[in-house]
């Protein structure tokens, strides 16, 4: 049976920097990818072992195995690709094509916000992640894709352009009326030309839809694809064309069958803001901790509990020990302990404090510099299990005792040249319903 995209999850950060919607200071491509993929894991058909994950966007070599570990499958094959629309479409084509593996696959596309660069006219852009879930069955069908170059010094040839798109996507006369154009950063005159020459097509303008996703090179094509798939155009076939100043990328889509879309949560009016990382990650990572030291082996040993809330369940007294430590802390038994993953969402805040500037450990100085005070909560994960969790994506003091929280994997602190990650609590918002 053919494979198709049967679900997509959009994870857009809930922070502001100026007009941009950006990831918080504790997020990066790894955390954004994990959050999107964890959301995908919760959807029907994707809660079983995946065959493969395709990761498109900025990533490090260490990120691939860490992604599998975070998702509970250390052996998970993760293919990495850097690049823009072509790499996104190629990954989707691979996952939906005959080269696909056994079991569901996921394509996760990620971007982090770009800071404004002094002296350059390009707009900065926001960040986020989109996870596409692919498995056998009917859904959003990914067609052929291609590119057409049109140097800006030459007058655009609409007829030739349409011919190329038809040939590249395999879409015939039905292209008319089913073309979704997104002119990401094309000069207005070029966009006006396409609109005039192709009067029957639906045109999506370059202006940001929400808080300036802008020309995010990786995430932009993925978001455009989802938007194109939802544009109300007659017929089951459509083409997404993204016009850049000197070239156009295009992708054929089959949209006749139902699929699940989990949109990003709306940006709260009081979304927290921060000033960015003026010192850069490099300086932070090179800094020597003046504070609590956790050797790397100890950190690696604790990652199961930190990342996935793994606890030991004792076969003798049946009680849970969290964090897992290889021995039941209630009765001392160490044989036959069963690893149990505690719920990551739905925990209740039992106590909360707001750490004000000056009361933070030294490792958290950059965090305080970026956002001021922050909350830390004791969250009940299970009847006998509490976890001490930093609260993120919220203003200090906004998370009261009794609140229901979900948790997300985020950066905790830099140590020994690397970021250490763990789960943080996030106030449960009024989640947008899947469509």
């Amino acid at each position: 049976m053919a494979r198709s995209v049967q679900a997509a999850v959009v994870e857009r950060p809930g922070w502001r920097r100026g007009d941009l919607r950006v990831e918080g200071p504790d997020e990066d491509p790894f955390t954004l990818s994990v959050s999107a993929l964890e959301s995908l894991q919760r959807l029907p058909g994707f809660d079983r072992p995946w065959g493969r994950v395709h990761l498109v966007g900025p990533s490090s070599r260490e990120m691939a195995p860490a992604l599998g570990e975070a998702l509970g499958d250390p052996a998970l094959e993760v293919r990495r690709a850097q690049g823009g629309a072509t790499e996104v479409f190629t990954a989707l084509a691979t996952a939906t094509g005959s080269g696909g593996s056994e079991g569901p696959e996921a394509v996760v596309v990620v971007d982090v916000a770009s800071p404004p660069v002094p002296g350059r006219v390009e707009r900065p852009y926001g960040g986020g992640a989109v996870a596409f879930g692919i498995r056998e069955g009917d859904g959003l069908r990914i067609g052929p894709h291609g590119e057409r170059h049109h140097p800006p010094e030459r007058r655009p040839d609409a007829t030739a352009w349409v011919r190329t798109v038809r040939r590249g996507t395999g879409v015939g006369e039905e292209l008319k009326g089913a073309l979704v154009v997104r002119a990401a950063i094309a000069p207005p005159v070029l966009l006006a030309f396409w609109t005039k020459e192709l009067p029957d097509v639906v045109v999506r303008n370059a202006s940001p839809v929400d808080l300036s996703l802008g020309p995010a090179p990786h995430l932009g094509p993925a978001v455009d694809l989802l938007e194109a798939a939802q544009v109300p155009v007659d017929g089951p076939v459509r083409v997404l064309a993204t016009i850049q100043p000197s070239y156009t990328t295009f992708l054929g889509l089959g949209v006749g069958d139902p699929w699940i879309l989990v949109p990003a949560a709306p940006l709260a009016p009081d979304a927290p803001t921060w000033r960015g990382r003026p010192e850069g990650d490099g300086e932070l990572l090179r800094s020597v901790s003046e504070g609590a030291y956790v050797p790397r082996p100890r950190y690696l040993e604790s990652r199961g509990s930190r990342w996935r809330f793994l606890a030991d369940q004792c076969p003798g007294c049946e009680r849970l020990t969290f964090p897992a430590r290889g021995v039941c802390r209630w009765c001392g038994r160490s044989e036959g302990l069963v690893s149990v993953a505690l719920p990551r969402d739905g925990g209740i805040v039992e106590a909360r404090t707001t750490v004000r500037p000056g009361a933070q450990p030294t490792e958290f100085d950059p965090w305080v510099d970026a956002i001021g005070g922050y909350d830390v909560a004791l969250v009940r994960l299970a009847p006998t299990v509490l976890a001490t969790l930093p609260v993120t994506d919220a203003l200090a003091g906004a998370t009261p005792a009794g609140a229901v929280v979900r948790t997300r994997l985020r950066r905790l602190y830099p140590m020994e040249g690397e970021w250490r990650y763990g789960r943080k609590a996030v106030l449960t918002p009024a989640a947008p319903a899947p469509t």
């Binding site: 909360r352 450990p361 030294t362």
Partner: protein
């Protein structure tokens, strides 16, 4: 200088004098030793006390270091292995840079799950306070009253760091540090040292006609991290230490004339009153607001000013509490004297309750 001053003062407090050669062992409670002698610091005690060659041991249980050093000294006397023991506590907290100080203050809590979740002790006690106030429907006024009372006591103590009174409104209006705790809910950063001479009762009576007798002691431990405790508003280590101390002393709580409890944050005094059995669960706030814990009232708590006003030189605090008990029971506490004091209790907590000692004293 701090350590030397404290030891000389201890020698000088012996009515009929003590020969240094009589001291058979020494114990030093310290956490950070100003950050410059993190290993083998106990040798400094022998040097400064003028007792070269005498075995000395450093005891480190964070804020309860001196409490446990005192306990080690008691055990050395009780076992019969030593006749006279010197116990000292020392902390010089203002020398290191603020970031360095935050470092070694912080590493005594749970490093992996609390410290690296963004908490220092203010935050950990802030969590306890948040839970306590919600669980027992108590207002911040009860916490503030602890600070007001202890500052009033500290104003009478020439050794106190803050010798001035404050008002409840000042406490409530102070800048927040770790909600719901504000600046005046927190003990200060303090330099200090204290020294105690312990001896078997017979030998002690050869030194003085008015010894202070250690009637009983107890100790306990608990998990480092709050998240692993059954209750967020109870310190199991304190409960165990208190029960053991009263059992060993063979008395009940009604005989106690005053308490020196570990009020590193105002919430800690309320928890101590309940954990030690002097108030029912959730009732310490009302007890405090009633005035019953003031110096001239039914149950004086922290007549020295406590950690809150007298100061909290981490590793010295447990010895400082014993010093206060010594003076209260000999009737030499001057303006802060608890009238008719016959029995006293000191309570020293390590970190957020991972360790605790309780010592019960009586007039000799």
């Amino acid at each position: 200088v701090l350590l030397r001053t404290a030891v000389q003062s201890a020698y000088g407090s012996v009515d009929r004098g003590v020969e240094r050669t009589q001291i058979g062992e020494a114990f030093l409670g310290t956490l950070g030793f100003s950050g410059w002698q993190l290993g083998n610091a106990s040798a400094v005690l022998a040097e400064e006390a003028g007792i070269p060659g005498v075995p000395s041991t450093r005891v480190e249980n964070a804020c309860a270091s001196a409490g446990f050093a005192l306990r080690a000294g008691i055990k050395a006397i009780e076992s019969g292995s030593r006749d006279v023991v010197l116990v000292a506590g020392l902390e010089k907290m203002t020398d290191p840079t603020p970031s360095r100080r935050r470092y070694w203050l912080g590493v005594s809590g749970d490093t992996e799950w609390e410290r690296l979740a963004g908490l220092t002790f203010a935050g950990v006690y802030g969590l306890m306070a948040d839970r306590y106030l919600a669980e027992h429907h108590v207002g911040r006024e009860a916490l503030a009253e602890v600070a007001v009372k202890n500052h009033a006591n500290g104003a009478l103590n020439p050794n106190a760091q803050f010798q001035k009174e404050i008002t409840r409104q000042q406490v409530l209006d102070a800048p927040k540090v770790a909600d719901p705790l504000g600046l005046l809910d927190c003990c200060p950063v303090t330099d200090g040292a204290a020294a105690i001479l312990l001896a078997g009762e017979e030998i002690a009576r050869s030194f003085t006609d008015t010894p202070v007798i250690i009637a009983g002691d107890g100790a306990g431990s608990d998990t480092l991290a709050l998240q692993e405790r059954a209750h967020l508003t109870r310190l199991a280590a304190t409960q165990r230490a208190g029960d053991e101390a009263f059992h060993r002393a063979g008395v009940d709580r009604s005989v106690i004339s005053f308490l020196e409890v570990h009020d590193c944050f105002t919430i800690a005094e309320l928890l101590a009153l309940e954990d030690l059995g002097f108030a029912g669960r959730g009732e310490a706030g009302a007890l405090t607001l009633s005035g019953a814990t003031r110096r001239g009232a039914r149950l004086p708590v922290n007549p020295s000013g406590g950690l809150k006003s007298k100061g909290h030189p981490i590793g010295a605090t447990g010895a400082g509490q014993a010093y206060e008990a010594f003076h209260q029971l000999r009737g030499t506490a001057d303006r802060r004297q608890v009238e008719g004091a016959e029995w006293g209790l000191s309570h020293n907590v390590g970190g957020s309750g991972a360790s605790a000692t309780v010592t019960i004293y009586r007039r000799g």
